[in-house]
């Protein structure tokens, strides 16, 4: 009995300490934010640019993640592919790779190969451009979205589609009319968390898109540039916006995520 209560005390203390540690980090940033200057800083040209670029790139990369992860995760969840374990490991790899390494890889792929040159020739210039930010966010986050969607699809019996097929659907229609709407919560949860991770993406984007003021300056890049140049008000404004986005999306994720495997 005594041992059990010691374990209880110990584990709860650790949890509380961890919470205090995290709260301290956020409080420190919030304390540095001057409410009087925050508003004027947020509407400054540079921060507005960073907000806009972050929103545009993260929304596009999230849509790309959704568009690719739906068919890919469906295939992994439903079909017995040859070499499925190997393919699964490969597509999960970006989860484990440091974003900086992904960024270097992207830089080499798009900057030094004939494939990259070809894309550049037809007008798709990824190196040191906002397009680079999008592809960086996409590459870092796709595995994450894929895993959420795969477990969502695995949780939905294929028999819904079988029934729909006997009632007159093609396999694609059956998927669109049953499994996909039933995966709505997983899709929302995955989309929100991917978007929030995308908006905070720094390492990979830094490598391929660089950190150029008013060109490839997303919120995290702006935070980095302004910290380096000692412009604390601007840096804290970026940090504060990123914190708000994270808290809101985490809240939505928790609410939706709990419902993701309802069926």
């Amino acid at each position: 009995m005594k041992n059990e209560s010691r374990l209880k005390l110990f584990s709860i203390s650790i949890t509380l300490l961890l919470s205090i540690f995290i709260i301290s980090i956020i409080t420190c940033i919030s304390m540095k934010v001057n409410p009087n200057t925050l508003l004027s800083v947020i509407v400054s040209k540079e921060i507005l640019f960073a907000i806009k670029l972050s929103l545009v790139t993260s929304i596009i990369s999230t849509l790309m993640c959704i568009a690719i992860s739906i068919p890919a995760s469906y295939a992994l969840a439903r079909y017995n592919l040859f070499g499925k374990t190997l393919i699964t490991t490969i597509v999960d790899l970006p989860l484990a790779l440091p974003p900086l390494v992904i960024g270097v890889g992207l830089l080499l792929l798009f900057g030094t190969t004939s494939f990259g040159n070809y894309l550049s020739d037809i007008g798709l210039q990824f190196v040191f451009t906002p397009l680079g930010i999008i592809i960086a966010q996409f590459t870092v986050n796709i595995s994450f979205m894929l895993r959420i969607m795969r477990s969502t699809f695995e949780g939905i019996s294929p028999r819904y589609e079988y029934v729909a097929q006997t009632l007159g659907c093609t396999p694609l229609q059956a998927f669109l009319k049953t499994t996909l709407p039933m995966a709505k919560n997983g899709l929302m949860a995955g989309g929100i968390i991917t978007w929030s991770k995308g908006i905070g993406e720094f390492g990979a984007a830094l490598m391929i898109a660089g950190a150029t003021r008013m060109k490839t300056e997303t919120l995290p890049i702006s935070l980095f540039l302004n910290m380096s140049s000692g412009d604390l008000d601007l840096a804290m404004a970026s940090a504060f916006i990123l914190i708000i986005i994270s808290i809101v999306s985490l809240y939505i994720f928790e609410r939706r995520g709990n419902m993701a495997n309802l069926y």
Partner: protein, 347 residues
């Protein structure tokens, strides 16, 4: 109507092994077998969900082996209903008709008609999550039959329901089949369901069909030890039951059996062999059922001996070895058998 010719399919865990089965137009065919026998793959293959590794499937004389499920005019109902949770009952039932691009008003009419028939028309605006098992299964059946399929496939449709709901739905399935005459294949592991609903029964084991026949044949003349064990019931009779004075009288073609289970209409009656008394002289007991007949076979089964007695209908009586030896029965003996009304189970 449906001809399944030498169909094999290997899905790893489950498989079909050279299945051949012919089902007649309008027939109610039961596929009976234990869990893992391959019953579900068989009907999913008939529906076109799986393409057979070899063999062919004919529907009304046409080879449909390569026809996609949507063009086969075969509907399917699963044990766990598979109602689309994001659609209302009305949208679920009308699903098949909407795909056929039928006018909204006509869909509504058809939905009302079929849900009225199945007694679920008051649930049209509800979502499946809020319904009971029996309601869900009625709606799944409504969704399947509304498209007027040539063949209805039912995969353990009654297995997830409580006994009373099962009984009632069984009656409704019978009624619906009488009304629509839709060729039906019903998969089950319950011999009661099989006996009560099936025009014919196909018994499956390890991906193979091991016996096909009318229920009486399957139960009385099982062609293997496995089927005899699996159906596990002897003394099973079909007949019409009339209830009066708190008892049921079941009239079969040959005899009349009295039961204390109250159920009228088409029923099956079963009596366990060990509940039947047997004697060379006439009984003077309170047992409501007594018959006279002739011993036609004696089978020793270790501690038990089973005696088959023909009283117009064949009965199997079980005796301990000891009492069998005391009574000195031999084949051809004229004997009396008797059992209580409470020993007769109706279903």
């Amino acid at each position: 109507m449906i001809r399944i010719e030498n169909v094999s399919k290997d899905l790893g865990e489950f498989k079909l092994n050279d299945v051949t089965l012919h089902i007649n137009e309008g027939e109610y065919c039961i596929i009976l077998g234990p869990t893992g026998a391959g019953k579900t793959i068989l009907i999913e293959t008939i529906a076109g969900i799986y393409h057979p590794d070899c063999g062919e499937i004919f529907l009304g004389g046409i080879n449909v082996t390569d026809v996609s499920p949507k063009d086969r005019s075969i509907s399917m109902v699963y044990q766990d209903y598979m109602l689309f949770p994001h659609l209302t009952v009305e949208e679920n039932v009308g699903f098949g008709l909407r795909l056929k691009k039928i006018a909204k008003n006509d869909i509504k009419k058809e939905v009302n008609k079929i849900t009225d028939l199945l007694g679920v028309s008051h649930l049209l605006n509800r979502y499946p999550d809020t319904l009971s098992g029996g309601e869900k299964q009625r709606i799944a059946i409504a969704r399947a039959v509304i498209t007027k399929p040539k063949v209805l496939l039912l995969d353990e449709p009654l297995s997830a329901l409580d006994t009373r709901t099962t009984w009632r739905l069984q009656e409704e399935l019978k009624k619906m089949h009488r009304l629509t005459k839709t060729t039906t294949i019903h998969v089950t592991h319950s011999f009661e369901e099989a006996f009560s609903l099936g025009d014919r029964i196909a018994v499956m084991k390890d991906g193979k069909i091991i016996q096909v026949g009318v229920p009486d044949d399957i139960f009385r003349k099982p062609n293997s030890e496995f089927i005899a064990d699996f159906v596990g019931v002897e003394n099973i009779f079909r007949g019409k039951s009339v209830v009066h004075n708190d008892i049921s009288e079941v009239h079969t073609d040959e005899i009349c059996i009295v039961s204390s289970t109250l159920k009228s209409g088409d029923v099956a009656a079963s009596i366990r062999p060990e509940d039947i008394f047997i004697s060379k002289t006439e009984f003077e007991s309170s047992a409501r059922n007594s018959f006279v007949g002739k011993i036609i076979r004696i089978k020793s089964m270790g501690a038990l001996t089973k005696i088959e007695v023909d009283v117009g209908a064949p009965f199997v009586v079980a005796l301990t070895k000891q009492s069998f030896e005391n009574m000195e029965f031999v084949c051809g003996n004229r004997v009396y058998i008797a059992f209580k009304a409470s020993a007769v189970h109706l279903f």
